[in-house]
Symmetry: C2
Subunit: 328 residues, 2 copies
């Protein structure tokens, strides 16, 4: 007490915050990426700044797969779908002779996915449609409660990037409203985004299938139909942002070709803007992939676009001291 | 000061709020409707109440046409569309011989609308599609800045119900998040809902047409296409609520058959719920219409459903001391 009190008094006198820059975003290295974030927040939130943005307009959008949580060895939602096929197989003896299910049930994931988009769509529809929204939510919750990531041996909801959790909290502490804008399924994310990211369901934008309102035993339900409603990827991201948020973001974060249009749309507004792309370049702590990966492709064209447009590329290897909370 | 200070001190001592019940919702008469609102808010927000609802789950949804603002002599968005047809007519000489435009341009609105849904759809598409979202927003703003309601001789954004503005503010002061869930166009509402209702764009759910992302002169735009995306009415309301909010409301407010499913969906959740329907029964201060009106139909079946389900019917004549702020 003897030593701390005069120090606190001095801080108050000098108008210095006791929270130093080192306390903000502690999992970020002191490099260009962290600096870009701090400067952007300062410019847009400090009263009297020429780039000041009123709180209601402080919209920040985040891709999910590969941006907030991992996406390798494949999208977690696809792993969920494959697990569901196995769980549902006893009720579908016909799957034993029908692709893509036959290969999948023999443990040949690669063979099952060889059918491309059509095979994936079939797997998604039989595992995501045909039940009520409430039933689907329970299925997702039950899966998340037991499934583990093959490399990290942790629940998928722990395979989230600690620096990004800090960034979300930091932006919100500065009056930003944080949204997810993901190619993933909106109803696959909503059961857990509030707890894991602090992002409530109404701030989650994603892909969706159609639903239908009907009465079952005098109780209203929403039934999930095997029909695409919206694909929230690439040019779909600005469309989804406009439809759900109705306001242009001033900051946007992604990691792959699917995010380019979201960043373009964000940048095209006036005033201060922050566009960032995470580059998965840490094979040891996470994964190193990029231009040649089918999942989370970060093409050379995107890298060129980032340079041309002044978007910050975050090196997960160099800009992040720590990737996961469970790391030692 | 001499008399007030001891009174304030007494209030503090007794823990009594100086804001009495009479200050809350001043435009509401002290009847069953006001009582239902006050009791519901008390039950759901008071710590320790068996019906307590955490702030994040305090979702309240409001229809717009006929619930927050007037909808007679016809939906304001339809009046906007008719005005736009007239404004665009010089660029469309072919309309002089083509219905529904020909009748409309001769001043025969009834004749123009005789073509039913198809005629309305044609009018909506030529007036709502074919421009960028930014251009459409400017068109809406410009119209609202000059157009006047035929009966009240006021801008449409002043033809909003004062008791409902008080209710929105009262709910928000008690930690509720207020959403619009309207059959009206989402992009027709968003330019003004924040200023008029305190409801930001991201909390507006409505009908929409499709949009397409494209580059024009190196700048990204969203172009409005002449194709329906979503109709947020009747069974569409729970679908829209699920898609945009992802959480079931605990309170819902409407005024017509188009709101029934929203109220059913709200009621079907567990715990305390508040469902209310406004009945337009004041021909003098506003309009009296109901079962036989084509716009804002409040059918006998809906009235029976309200009685059966315990939904509160608000008599605008008796429950509201004042309807509009501009009233003397």
């Amino acid at each position: 007490m003897k030593t701390i009190l005069p120090f606190l008094a001095l801080c108050l006198l000098l108008g210095v915050s006791t929270a130093t820059a080192a306390d903000t975003l502690p999992s970020w290295s002191d490099g260009a990426a962290k600096k870009a974030i701090l400067q952007f927040v300062e410019r847009t939130t400090k009263t009297g700044s020429p780039d000041y943005v009123p709180p209601v307009e402080r919209i920040a959008t985040f891709d999910n797969d590969g941006t907030l949580w991992a996406e390798q060895p494949m999208y977690f939602q696809l792993i969920f779908a494959l697990d569901r096929v196995k769980a549902l197989a006893p009720q579908h003896p016909e799957w034993r002779d029908k692709e893509p299910f036959a290969s999948l049930l023999k443990g040949d994931v690669k063979g099952a996915l060889a059918g491309g988009d059509r095979a994936i769509a079939e797997i998604v529809m039989v595992t995501h449609a045909g039940m009520t929204t409430a039933e689907f939510e329970q299925i997702v919750r039950a899966w998340l409660a037991t499934a583990k990531h093959p490399k990290f041996k942790k629940p998928y909801t722990e395979c989230v990037y600690k620096p990004m959790l800090e960034l979300l909290a930091y932006l919100r502490a500065n009056g930003f409203k944080t949204f997810i804008v993901s190619g993933g399924g909106i109803e696959f994310m909503r059961p857990w985004t509030e707890k894991v990211y602090g992002i409530p369901p109404e701030q989650v934008v994603g892909s969706s299938i159609k639903t239908k309102y009907e009465m079952r035993d005098g109780k209203p339900v929403l039934v999930r139909l095997p029909e695409i409603n919206f694909i929230d990827d690439k040019t779909g991201k600005p469309v989804g942002i406009n439809e759900h948020i109705g306001r242009r973001p001033i900051a946007a974060f992604g990691n792959s070709d699917g995010d380019q249009q979201m960043l373009e749309w964000t940048q095209a507004g006036g005033g201060a803007r922050l566009m960032m792309l995470e580059h998965h370049d840490d094979a040891e702590r996470e994964y190193a992939y990029g231009a040649k990966s089918h999942i989370g492709t970060f093409s050379d064209a995107l890298m060129a676009e980032a340079k041309k447009s002044g978007w910050t590329v975050i090196s997960m290897k160099n800009d992040w001291r720590r990737i996961f909370a469970f790391e030692q």
